[in-house]
Subunit: 379 residues, 2 copies
């Protein structure tokens, strides 16, 4: 990683229009909880072309509220492209002129892969809380089937931020022969009690909403208020205190003096309410319960003697990136991953990007992230 010349960026452009695919599986998927998914499917997107050797694929892993739609648009009318469009496309860090990018939704999700909102063949109704609990490891088990179904046995890289970073590390450990490089970003090897605590409050907000009804609600209905509160709270943990001072300070919303009411007074209140409201239009409450549970159960060292021992199987080279103001998965927790990899005798390195964007920096600091990704996957 030394003596780098600037990497030319010939013609960075959006990947253009894209489409998703669903891959169905009828072979049961055994889960950590002891139960199995009988019929299940994964939704995914791909960008670029698989080469003849079938060895230029990079798997992109999304975060809690993300999905498979990482780049491009479904139609020119879409207001925004996929969530990592800044990094994926011709000439971009994940260069689609060179790599075949696969972005896979997770099981348990609500965006097309099998999850609690899917129809349970045995009852003809949505699973709801009858859906089995899935772990990060289960999500990776399911994705391994997907990757093999595409005829791919060696991934050039696996990369993702937040929950996506957990999946990336799990991939490198569980399927070591299939992963040549791993790039976990803004993540942890072990969900901290503080992070569990925030998730537990979010779940309580949902499960104490009477419209949750034990998870039994019609598609599109459900505990909108509880989900909005959960999202508002979680959103605070994605920002940094400094970033909030810069972005909002104590600015009033559309006025120059206080009204002394319980309506919105400050910009930051308006912003959070908007975050809560827009989330309920695109996310399912039961999936929020299941995915936060997967986060909380996450402990990469589970089943191993230690974290160092957990990384013993890893064959991939690792680049771990963290952001200075991230307090959800702070630099310290990312550094611990690298230290354990190094103690296990692996090729691993760490970069800390200075940013006031907090945890959300992995979605925003495109220029900085790009430089390190380009260099790490250049050969």
């Amino acid at each position: 990683m030394t003596d780098l010349e600037p990497i030319p960026n010939p013609n960075p452009a959006s990947i253009g229009l894209v489409a998703y695919r669903d891959q169905h599986f009828s072979e049961p998927l055994l889960l950590d909880c002891g139960r199995a998914l009988e019929d299940w499917s994964i939704r995914y997107e791909t960008y670029g072309s698989l080469n003849e050797n079938r060895d230029n694929a990079i798997l992109i892993e999304h975060a809690l509220s993300g999905d498979h739609h990482a780049a491009g648009k479904y139609s020119d009318a879409d207001p925004k492209p996929g969530w990592w469009d800044i990094l994926i496309g011709p000439g971009k860090a994940f260069d689609t002129n060179r790599f075949f990018i696969i972005s896979s939704n997770v099981i348990g999700g609500c965006r097309g892969s099998t999850g609690p909102g899917s129809i349970n063949a045995k009852t003809g109704r949505p699973y709801g809380m009858d859906f089995p609990i899935v772990t990060v490891r289960d999500m990776v088990r399911a994705q391994e089937r997907l990757i093999r179904s595409l005829g791919i046995t060696s991934l050039a890289a696996v990369c993702g931020g937040s929950m996506g970073g957990m999946l990336s590390m799990e991939w490198a450990i569980r399927y070591p022969g299939m992963v040549r490089r791993v790039m976990p970003i803004a993540t942890t090897t072990l969900q901290s009690p503080q992070a569990i605590a925030f998730d537990e409050v979010g779940r309580n907000a949902i499960m104490r909403d009477p419209l949750w009804n034990q998870g039994d609600y019609e598609p599109g209905a459900g505990p909108a208020h509880g989900l909005a509160v959960a999202r508002m709270m979680a959103h605070i943990t994605y920002l940094s205190e400094t970033g909030m001072v810069q972005k909002f300070g104590r600015r009033l919303r559309g006025k120059d003096r206080l009204d002394f009411t319980f309506d919105i007074e400050f910009e930051v209140e308006s912003y959070l309410r908007h975050q809560g409201q827009s989330f309920i239009d695109r996310f399912d409450a039961n999936t929020y319960l299941y995915l936060t549970k997967a986060l909380d159960y996450f402990n990469l060292a589970d089943g191993a003697e230690s974290l160092d021992a957990a990384f013993a199987s890893m064959q991939a080279k690792a680049l771990v990136m963290a952001f200075s103001s991230d307090w959800l998965y702070p630099p310290k927790q990312n550094k611990e991953a690298v230290a354990a990899m190094l103690r296990a005798g692996k090729e691993a390195t760490y970069v800390e990007i200075d940013s006031d964007y907090g945890h959300d920096a992995f979605l925003l600091e495109a220029d900085e992230i790009s430089k390190f990704i380009r260099a790490f996957i250049r050969d």
Copy 2:
């Protein structure tokens, strides 16, 4: 504050049994919002005796979820004494052999002073959301009436943590001739956007609970779920990440392996649910709305050219204490108060106590806090 000998602690003991008093006022209290409270009252407790000069009184200010019951017990059967019993009593830092301690509830509260749960004489029903919005300054205005009604015109000190620290500083600025020493602890001169954000989520949890019913509910009923969620979330901000790792880690609750259910798995989940549940038994949801609003409006510099200018009127000597792991009102915000006092030419000093208890340290680090309080008020 130099060359201190160890301060003898002759016989530290609990103050024993105590009782509260209600002071009624029929003269209207004009509020920052432009409205007025017509008939109103403050509940308070006192410990120790007022001296002949009537100049040995110390006013104790409680935090958001605290009240006037700061020391002693109402009956021997009480499981716990008041919230600052560790600091108040014969031979303790606030030595009742020497000082007359006054602990006053705030207006807007739900523990006996006039608040949204009080009966509105005009309607014969609880105010609910017809209660006027009160600010920290309004709370201090009301307390000034109380102190004068006790025949006291000079307070030896005003001291409190968190919201109580805000009240303390407001006292020193608004009634400078009445305050000889001020000891704000774990507080801020200005509610940050992050703190406003957490409060706004808590208010949303309450106001989106159908049982809130626009604030119109029977005493003892109301939005219990929303209030519990608000409290659970707020409680995370009172602890530190390090403290949570020490206190809970990822320990399971009453089992040695995961159950893979949405019931409690981790100790930290159990702890938070307990905090939420016990809070609804002792606190009123509308008061939670009003007091968090008071916190969010708090900006000590409001109406002044600058924070330095706001402190220009202060005559009290100031000791500001903060805790290293407090991220709700972090050391930085406390230091800024002292810096502004110093720039305004005041006698002020700062102490940062090393603690893993986070914001809650002001309720727990009795030994450390005591040393500094004793020294500061010794003459």
